[in-house]
């Protein structure tokens, strides 16, 4: 029981990955959900655990897909190395961006990451010999997962590729969950809480934030690499402002209270976006209204909503079961209920 509780989020993610195919009929769509969930995890690492709101996550997704694309096209590496390269390059880009922007705080930091996103976009646009410019990199192959020539997992069909991405995703989630629970994760939380104090007790806050940034860049780069293989291309639009914006929106819609929230946020955004866009060309208006609603009424994001629903169900069930202990129970449950934010 204790173990289950300990790994509850990882188990939840495994369940999600298994249930997703039942909910969506398209393997590509399901894969996209996981890929953006990965990107949102990277973003949440910054927003929820380090207190940094990055409007430049598209940079890392973009360079990740370029890195995978270029390494598959020109270096002819196999599946895993190409993804490793995406992580590396994503982390490297984050190092550069972080180096310049992390000294700034709050809103100014947001602006800087945003400006960097623009700058990387124009860089990618101008370096068309490398990136393919506006056309993007085309014809990116999708190798099977193989070891010494033996195919372990083919990736030809969309569902095969989904299973591969799912495995990678669960693994990454577990690693990230472990990281946020680690000493490093806690220190980051402390820094996001009070920088001055953190510096005064001996932490090099710039370095810690940079570490978080690089980690986030690597994770997002990996998402970019997976995305490039999924679509067979690394387009310029991956590095656009809009990509950064979407990743951020997914993260906030999900909520920042837990890593799992990002999975919810990404799934919701991708699926709803996909659904709405097929219904009404002006679907962005609905998205806009949704964002307004989240910012007004759902401050803990979907995760918060889910949490309070569960609490309510629990409360209801327990109240029915044990009439006598009713009073105590309510008190106990209150404690679990997320605190309302005062406005």
């Amino acid at each position: 029981m204790k173990i289950i509780l300990h790994y509850r989020f990882t188990l939840l993610v495994i369940a999600t990955v298994l249930v997703l195919p039942l909910l969506v009929s398209s393997g590509t769509l399901a894969t996209e959900v996981l890929i953006f969930a990965l990107a949102a995890l990277g973003c949440n690492l910054l927003l929820g655990y380090t207190g940094l709101m990055s409007f430049g996550q598209g940079i890392f997704l973009g360079v990740g897909s370029y890195a995978t694309g270029l390494s598959l096209l020109h270096l002819h590496v196999s599946l895993l190395p190409s993804l490793l390269i995406a992580m590396l390059i994503g982390g490297l880009a984050a190092l550069v961006v972080g180096w310049f922007s992390i000294r700034q705080r709050g809103t100014y930091f947001v602006m800087l990451t945003l400006a960097f996103a623009q700058m990387f976009y124009f860089l990618a646009y101008t370096l068309k010999d490398v990136t393919g410019g506006d056309n993007g990199l085309l014809n990116i192959p999708r190798p099977d997962l193989s070891l010494f020539g033996i195919v372990l997992l083919p990736t030809t069909t969309s569902w095969q590729y989904y299973s591969f991405v799912a495995v990678v995703f669960v693994l990454m989630f577990w690693v990230l969950q472990r990281i946020v629970d680690s000493v490093l994760g806690r220190t980051l939380l402390a820094i996001s809480d009070n920088e001055t104090r953190a510096a005064a007790v001996g932490y090099n806050i710039t370095l810690f934030k940079l570490a978080a940034f690089v980690l986030s860049g690597a994770v997002t780069g990996l998402a970019g690499g997976l995305h490039a293989m999924m679509t067979g291309l690394a387009p310029l639009s991956n590095i656009e402002y809009h990509t950064s914006e979407s990743i951020l929106i997914m993260t906030v819609i999900g909520g920042t209270g837990s890593l799992y929230a990002s999975v919810l946020g990404a799934a919701f955004y991708v699926l709803i976006g996909n659904w709405l866009s097929s219904l009404w060309p002006r679907w962005l208006m609905l998205l806009g209204l949704l964002l307004i609603a989240v910012s007004l009424y759902m401050h803990k994001g979907l995760y918060g909503v889910a949490q309070s629903l569960i609490t309510r169900v629990k409360l209801f069930r327990r109240a029915n079961k044990l009439d006598v202990a009713h009073h105590i129970d309510i008190k106990e449950i209150r404690k679990e209920t997320p605190k309302e934010t005062h406005s």
Partner: protein
Amino acid sequence: MNIYLLQIANGIGIGMLYFLLAVGLSIVFGLLRFVNFSHGAFYLIGAYFSYQLGVMGLGFWWSLLVAPVIVGVFAWVIERFVLRHIYALPHHFHILFTVGLALVLQEAVISYWGPLGANISPPDILQGVVMFGSFIFPKYRLFVIAVTAVMALLLWWVLEGTRLGAIVRAGSESTEMVSLLGLNIDRIFSLVFALGAITAGLAGALAGPIRGVDPFMGVEALGIAFVVVVIGGLGSFFGALAGGLLVGIVQSLMSTIWSEGAHLMIYVAMAAVMLLRPNGLFGRSS
């Protein structure tokens, strides 16, 4: 005349419009302490309102005057009845809200006016060009420079020279303390937010005859405004002025020197400023 001088003069023309576009973002941003991602959308609806009023026969001058005011009233209502309730939240909610609002406005514009753009003609007396020797400048652009310069002076006086300006700056530090002094800070915030929207709306209305109107002009404008504010410094009036002019001139000069990179160079200029002065040209250290 020397082509570089021509480009600098042209850059000033572009830059003043950028200033007007960015200054509202900077004021709202510095004083209310949040990033208004719907600033570009205010620019957008400013342009469309002036277009619509023109179509309805109000004439250029009245449209130019009335459209920003409508935008201001709209912004005031939004602030007064909705936005106000989320000030206390972490700033990502402000961003989320204003991004949402921008999307709604943009899509509303498309729904009403269609996804195609339209043209706004300047009034007859502002049509044509002025010649300074071999130097040609459209009359309308000169007019824009004049209007933005007047706006600049007006804004500067309001912010630095009046008691209202002092209250506004005080409010950016602690709203609670301002209310403890018996001042209705909420009203002042609504006012500032509306003021920011008016400048954006005016910029949009002024830009219409130069760039026409199209539903995506807001997104582009927001990008420019951000760069200007980052270069100039958060919340700084003079920063917006310097940043706007710098961006305009760089852009203009680069179109002669290395036209492929003109857009990229705006960002390179921004990176250079950031390296030398991390808080922007006129920014206070945070």
